[in-house]
Symmetry: C2
Subunit: 238 residues, 2 copies
DNA sequence: CGCGCTGCTATACGGTCGTACAACAACAGC
DNA sequence: GCTGTTGTTGTACGACCGTATAGCAGCGCG
């Protein structure tokens, strides 16, 4: 017996690649098991290392999650952007390709949705994760602003407030993505794309009034001064 | 000693009111502690009863969550609807009041957002919770369809596909609500209302093409037949 | 008043969690 | 080849989890 295989019990790795491997393992665990997958034992098993190694490379578990959040978010944004590029296409066409990528099967995986829920649920309690959200949300909005910006100046497209437009479009994309992830049978991806296209059409037609108001200025100027009585909505909630 | 207070160690309650109290305690815990608050010990302490009582009134912890989900969701919908009612207002005005209620301070509580994340995170693994989502999402959509339906037929408002319009509006509301809950400083509630109002304006102006296509029929008819080459978007994702 | 039904408590159990820490071993440099 | 560095392991610890179960006790009813 004692087959002289004698392979080393483990292999050392420079901190950088080990950290990256742990991040990848974290994403795999979150995708497969959601919140339940977020434990040093599970992630360690997924990465083929001992649980204790995680605390050796990351100050705490939520630092690892923050890193995984940033990695995944930026990777997805890059993929979607890449798919939307297509140089010979018109700005309007690139925007449609962006929508199609957003509702591609790869993005509608329930595991991905559950992963995102874990990220979101940690935002309020962990400053690092919140910082990642702020950064990545800004990056997504910037990508949309870039695509929308190319739209302006085209034939008959009026000037509009870029930042607010990106906020609205981002919300529409997110809202549709969430419901599509929760219940794929509510509507088909093609319908989600069509609804986003509708919004784009309205924007190009100048049919979104508050976006036309103030050029590219930041703050919405009272947004059409409330015509009703002054008391704000105070829901009883009970 | 032995001050003759002698108050009873506990009070019995009929199952119905006890169940309701436990549901209320669950919502309080979720609001205060998010996912961490979802434990029999914490909920029992919040309700002033022993932890074991929960498994006595509910077959499992997720049945309790499902009940809490349905209670909160329907309560919020009722409040918002109530606020939008206002009989002497025009349909368009009622819709705006609906938006204002949606972005009222009571709805933008971070605790409420975290509560919702817990609900969402249980959908994929627990059929009961999924059923509640399907029911409540349908109820919200029905409320929107009702409000949007009153819009149709008004001066110059074209016929549009009610169900798809409600889906889009619901997504826009959800997406804005999420970002407002995560980071209140991205935009002010009034801007969110304005962006929803914009969408309504576009709808009334007939500026949302795919919604005009097929009357009130259910399925979107290919939504503008893809003009590009046939291959669907297949993101490399890596 | 006393009895019994049953809502309710209290405890115990097996499991998983994050973290800490001491010992081990892979690999580079001499 | 030996040695030192340090990436890595394995274990131990205390805390919390959900569930099961045996028994206590509030309170309606006769």
């Amino acid at each position: 017996m004692a087959a002289e295989e004698q392979s080393p019990k483990f292999r050392r790795a420079p901190p950088t690649v080990r950290r990256e491997a742990l991040i990848e393992a974290t994403l795999a665990c979150l995708r497969k098991h959601g919140r339940e997958g977020l434990s040093v034992r599970r992630i360690g098993a997924e990465a083929g290392v001992s649980p204790g190694l995680i605390n050796h490379h990351f100050p705490s578990i939520c630092a690892l999650v923050a890193a995984a959040y940033e990695t995944l978010s930026m990777s997805l944004l890059h993929s979607i952007r890449q798919h939307a590029r297509e140089d010979e296409a018109s700005p309007r066409e690139r925007l449609r390709r962006f929508y199609e990528a957003w509702f591609a099967p790869a993005l509608l995986d329930p595991g991905l949705f559950n992963t995102w829920l874990v990220f979101w649920s940690m935002i309020s309690h962990h400053a690092e994760v919140r910082a990642v959200h702020d950064r990545t949300y800004a990056a997504y909005r910037a990508a949309l602003e870039s695509l929308l910006g190319e739209l302006r100046g085209n034939d008959g497209v009026p000037r509009f407030r870029l930042r607010s437009a990106a906020i609205a479009l981002s919300a529409l994309l997110d809202g549709l993505w969430i419901e599509a992830s929760i219940n794929p049978r509510t509507f088909r991806p093609a319908e989600a794309v069509a609804l986003c296209e509708d919004w784009t059409s309205a924007l190009c037609a100048g049919a979104l009034p508050s976006l036309l108001a103030g050029g590219t200025r930041g703050q919405p100027r009272a947004a059409g001064r409330r015509p009703r009585n002054g008391r704000g909505p105070a829901l009883p909630l009970k």
